[in-house]
């Protein structure tokens, strides 16, 4: 415990230097803007800003990108509450009761509860990250290729299981992502696979063009042709204060959302999205007046907003401690760290303590910055939404092209982005979740390497995966999830993801065609 606080002191000595504070502030501002703008989620935002961090040192770059990530989590709630347009997917549940509160003239308290809940959840979950990541990293030192293989397989299965759609569809997307990840030079034999004469594909398909195409471009393609969004409600500063009853009603949902979000965040998957759905369902179930949900219940804002912010920190646990991303956003963060010469994993905490603890401390600072930013400046951020979409989407498209090109200075990446945009558009029309594709692309080389190294270790004997306790346990958990997912193949009503999908449709039903 004392060692942890000593390390945190070291972290704050890094995070409170003027330069790091500046980048935390800039990251939070950009993140909030990214969260407010519909169509530019945290994933696209981080991907686009990645090239701009190339000139920075590793700590500043990671602090900036992390600021964008949790800034977007905060910012996404603003448009959900004021316009019933989720700035990013995790804010979908906030739309339901947040917008109803706005219609009843309680937009200010809804925004305040969302901001305070996000702050509390964000801060408490960093405490969890601080205490959980180092022991997990020590544990991970026992991992060899079979354990990593089992962990990656489990991660993909959990992601598919937790997706808010059908599991075969999610697994198919993961398989598609893994297949895309096979493009490039095979690191064990040097064989160039699926190159079709393009030498640029030697290092494989980059996660940035895939992520920007599947998330950013496909969103533009889906929304640019739709009618203009509804009018913007702009609350005044004096309207922000919630009533005593609203504070009382929100306290427990914020606590539950924090814990739930953190636990779900650690599990691989689109944690911040899933956590907000689960939190909303939990609050409605626990409420003495469930009929108030959907009619402007403040608990329906407090719980999901706390959960999605808490999940953000939770998602950093496996990424920092194991070097394994738990979803597409940590995957891009991992890629960003690698660009800066950092290898997240068990050795990061011991070999680069300033970076790890500086990052942790900067998250505390970032949460304070966001609380200060979000409430008084909400009117300023909302003004962004007054830019008509016919002007906004061409600008977003330009930044997508710029961001993707700048990573490798390669037009092949811009082509990949365009192709992935078209693919993402079609897949979303056909109700496929595209997140597993991004995770598949980044996990594919690791998964293949772990499999082949394991087989080399055992002389080609597959029993190695079941003779080692950690690997066997993880594979058995994965198998159990697969068996659980077979249930809905036989009985349609048994799939809990179906009800989550219905919640999502109910939340967005009035906007989408």
């Amino acid at each position: 415990m004392a060692e942890t606080f000593q390390n945190l002191y070291l972290g704050f000595s890094v995070a409170l230097t003027p330069t790091v504070l500046f980048y935390a502030f800039v990251g939070c501002v950009i993140g909030t803007l990214v969260g407010v703008l519909p169509g530019v989620g945290p994933l696209a935002g981080i991907s686009l800003l990645l090239p701009a961090t190339f000139g920075l040192n590793a700590t500043n770059a990671i602090v900036l990108l992390a600021g964008i990530y949790y800034g977007a989590m905060y910012g996404g709630s603003t448009t959900s509450i004021l316009m019933r347009i989720p700035g990013e997917a995790a804010s979908v549940m906030t739309c339901i009761d947040g917008y109803e509160m706005t219609k009843k003239g309680r937009a200010g308290p809804a925004l305040a509860i969302a901001a305070v809940g996000s702050y509390i959840a964000g801060t408490l979950s960093i405490v969890g990250l601080m205490f959980l990541a180092p022991p997990l990293a020590s544990f991970a030192l026992r991992f060899g290729p079979p354990e990593y293989f089992a962990l990656l397989v489990l991660g993909l299965l959990v992601l598919a299981y937790m997706s808010s759609g059908s599991m075969p569809k999610a697994l198919a997307m993961a398989a598609l992502g893994l297949l895309l990840g096979m493009i490039g030079i095979d690191t064990m034999t040097g064989f160039f696979r699926f190159h079709y004469g393009l030498v640029e594909l030697g290092d494989g398909i980059g996660v940035v063009p895939v992520a920007v195409g599947l998330f950013g471009i496909s969103e533009i393609l889906l929304t640019a042709g739709l009618p203009t969004p509804p009018a913007v409600h702009k609350p005044k500063l004096r309207e922000l204060l919630p009533s005593r009853q609203e504070w009382r009603d929100s306290a427990a949902p914020i606590g539950r959302g924090t814990l739930l979000g953190f636990l779900i965040g650690i599990i691989p998957g689109s944690a911040h999205i899933i956590s907000s759905f689960v939190s909303y369902a939990l609050e409605r179930r626990l409420s003495k007046h469930p009929e108030r949900f959907g009619q402007g219940a403040v608990e329906g804002v407090a719980g999901p907003e706390s959960a999605n912010n808490s999940a953000t920190s939770g998602a950093f646990v496996p990424m920092l401690a194991l070097g394994v991303p738990s979803g597409p956003i940590p995957a891009v963060m991992l890629a960003a760290m690698m660009v800066h010469g950092i290898s997240p994993g068990p050795f990061l905490i011991t070999q680069q303590p300033e970076l790890f603890w500086g990052f942790i401390a900067s998250m505390y600072v970032g949460n304070v910055v966001l609380l200060i930013l979000n409430l008084p400046l909400v009117g300023l951020f909302v003004n962004l939404l007054r830019i008509p979409y016919p002007f906004l989407y061409p600008a977003i498209l330009v930044f997508c092209v710029l961001g993707v090109y700048a990573v490798n200075q390669s037009v092949v990446d811009v082509w990949i982005m365009a192709i992935m945009g078209a693919l993402g558009y079609l897949l979303r029309k056909f109700e496929f979740d595209t997140a597993p594709i991004v995770l598949g692309v980044i996990l594919a080389p690791m998964l293949e390497m772990a499999l082949r190294q394991s087989l080399a270790m055992s002389g080609g004997n597959y029993a190695i995966f079941f003779s080692r306790p950690i690997a066997a346990t993880m594979l058995l958990v994965g198998l159990a999830l697969l068996l659980l997912s077979l249930r809905p193949l036989l009985a349609r009503g048994a799939d809990w993801r179906r009800s989550v999908g219905l919640e999502e449709k109910r939340a967005l039903g009035e906007e989408n065609p």
Binding site: S166, K169, L221, G225, V411, M417
Partner: protein, 147 residues
């Protein structure tokens, strides 16, 4: 009956078959010593099986003709714009490419007034180039005449 899931599942099966065919060019290795073609073939088989499951279970999905494509013409134009950007970026340079792209999207697709189109296209192109290339030192391509 053609439902969205049946069409999507069938497309995945087709993709899996094509990919499996492509892996024939790669050394497969053996079950105990996999070669570079092993994993792609395995994944293609898994994708094909999952695609078949999606297609077979897809009877209850919305019918294909029920899908609305009202935004498709707009989407197609934006995709064409992205393809143009990929084609022109290193030929015309960043600034000219962005000006042409914005002129097309704002002027042709959104039918904004010419003065507005010119102002936005020039402002965004030159402004973003200055911010990223000059201030943030992100290397962006220059075209003819150093533009």
């Amino acid at each position: 009956m053609w439902t969205s899931d049946r069409v999507a599942g069938s497309a995945l099966v087709l993709l899996a078959v094509v990919t499996a065919g492509e892996t024939r060019r790669l050394p497969l290795g053996t079950l105990h010593n996999p070669g570079p073609g092993y994993m792609p073939l395995l994944l293609a088989v898994i994708l094909g099986v999952l695609g078949a499951i999606v297609a077979l279970r897809g009877g209850g999905a919305p019918r294909l003709i029920a899908l609305r494509w009202s935004e498709a013409p707009h989407a197609f134009a934006i995709l064409a714009g992205s393809a143009f950007a990929a084609f022109a970026l290193e030929r015309l340079g960043y600034r000219l490419t962005v000006i042409v792209l914005l002129a097309f999207l704002l002027g042709v697709m959104e039918r904004k007034r010419p003065a507005v189109v010119v102002a936005v296209a020039l402002g965004l192109s030159l402004g973003s180039f200055f911010l990223f290339s000059n201030l943030l030192k992100v290397p962006l391509p220059r075209g003819p005449w150093g533009l």
